[in-house]
Amino acid sequence: METATQTKPEIAVSLRDVNKWYGEFHVLKNVNLDVERGQRIVICGPSGSGKSTMIRCINRLEEHQAGQIIVDGIELNNDLKNIDQIRREVGMVFQHFNLFPHLTVLENCCLAPMWVRKIPRKEAEATAMEYLERVKIPHQAKKFPGQLSGGQQQRVAIARSLCMKPRIMLFDEPTSALDPEMIKEVLDTMIELAESGMTMLCVTHEMGFAKTVADSVIFMDAGQIIEMNTPDEFFNHPQHERSKLFLSQILGH
């Protein structure tokens, strides 16, 4: 919960002049971003604009080659200790869920708390059931991911991340691989999470979600952040030509 009397907002994630290349290809160009604790940021942009790469740099699934990334007060560098510590505090939800197919839903949720946080099984299972209840699938706990629908799998993936009690959540196109019927159940879960005060960075094209919960929308193109605004401003009065084109294409039909 946020306290209204905070004078200086705490910075959860800070990117300073971050640059990254894939071989010769310059994916991220001088990206600068500050995310305050409790803020919900939606990142959108055309495919290949570097939005996924940017959030994957925040938990070191990708390595940035220049610039500075500070997450929760810890700088990301080659120090494995720092990386481990940041990954404990940062949860991530993937486009393709990436649940562990050989483990049951409950085991998926308990694995990291038990092995990373060294929480006893009983306690981990109790926490897991709590979060599974929150994403409304406690009755599927004993099933394997392969036996669930896409929407259910993604909700399990969200619960799995939450079981680590992260302070920041990253979402990498969480609804892009879902059938249209299932998108809503996942978005509802995410909206509920946003309302609980979680710091969230979401790469998504779900504009309804952006309008409902985002504090600001970031638009990326060709490895750069070219626009950042409140959802209202961004959708109604996009400043940049590229944003206007993008919006007309995704909203135009």
Binding site: R87, F100, Q147
Partner: protein, 366 residues
Amino acid sequence: MQAFITRETLPSLPPPSTLKGPIAWMRQNLFSSVGNSIVTVVLVLGILAALIPFINWAFIKADWIGTSRDDCTSGGACWVFVYVHLKLFMVGLYPESEVWRTILVGAILVVTMAGLMIKGVPFKKYIQIFALIAFPIIAFILLSGGAFGLPHVETNFWGGLLLTLVIAIVGIVAAFPLGILLALGRRSSMPIVKAICVVFIEVWRGVPLITVLFMSSVMLPLFLPEGMEIDKLLRALVGITLFQSAYLAEVVRSGLQAIPKGQYEAANALGLTYWQGMYKVILPQALKIVIPGIVNSFISLFKDTSLVLIIGLFDLLATIQGAFASPKWLGYAIEGYLFAALVYWVFCFGMSRYSQRVERSLKTTH
């Protein structure tokens, strides 16, 4: 355009019943047309023509029990040859008075394996620990002796099926973890680790097992300091283990490559360390995929153990060959080889069936 629109929800019906019963099955599969019927009849006659004389020779006209070749009078197979040599085939030259030790080890092995394989047996975890840690020690003390008042039996006297199983089991159990480490090493991002693993795997895979055994037995002693001697069986075991681990490494690596990148990423994103991620997330999935390949390697290792003959170790096949080469039993090679084939087949088939069961039990989709 025309379409038929259903106005009510249709009930789910059971699938149309297929023909059942042996006659229907035969009509469908064996006699579905004139051509197929002819093929069926010809094949059945052919199989019978080959099988009847064999059964006649191997079972009906065979002699089973006796003491020498003079007891083989019926003109069929002379299983007396196997009967008389059974002790030799099972444990080689292991002293008669100490054979109970090998039987005891075999019994412990069978009970332990049964405990591991049969579903519903409690304390599986403890049985596993026993099988991996206590059993090898107990088996070694019992077989080798020299402690607890048991007379020492040199490995020179170990032979027959006992030796085959010792080599195969040690080879399998020791090569498996080594193979996994090599596979992980070959996929490592650390260049030196990767290079060492690649070189190790490629060298050992590029050399025939006979060469490995020969080197371990003939050349290795030349490099050892004067007076230092390593047991011949131990040298062979090390050679076979390293050889096998290189093969296994490639099998395991193929499994690792089949795991989607997202699994590695999810494990990392959750904060699992490399080894935790491998142990809990990647390897369980990768090994499951390559069970057929792993069992294939194990089966081929089991049969390759017969190559230790060339360094003077007498495994099952070697003792059988030795027995029918003796003047008293000349001419019974067929019985000998058939017996060897049967024993090898029983073990290999057992491994194959067990692996299929493991595969089924690990299935986690519909």
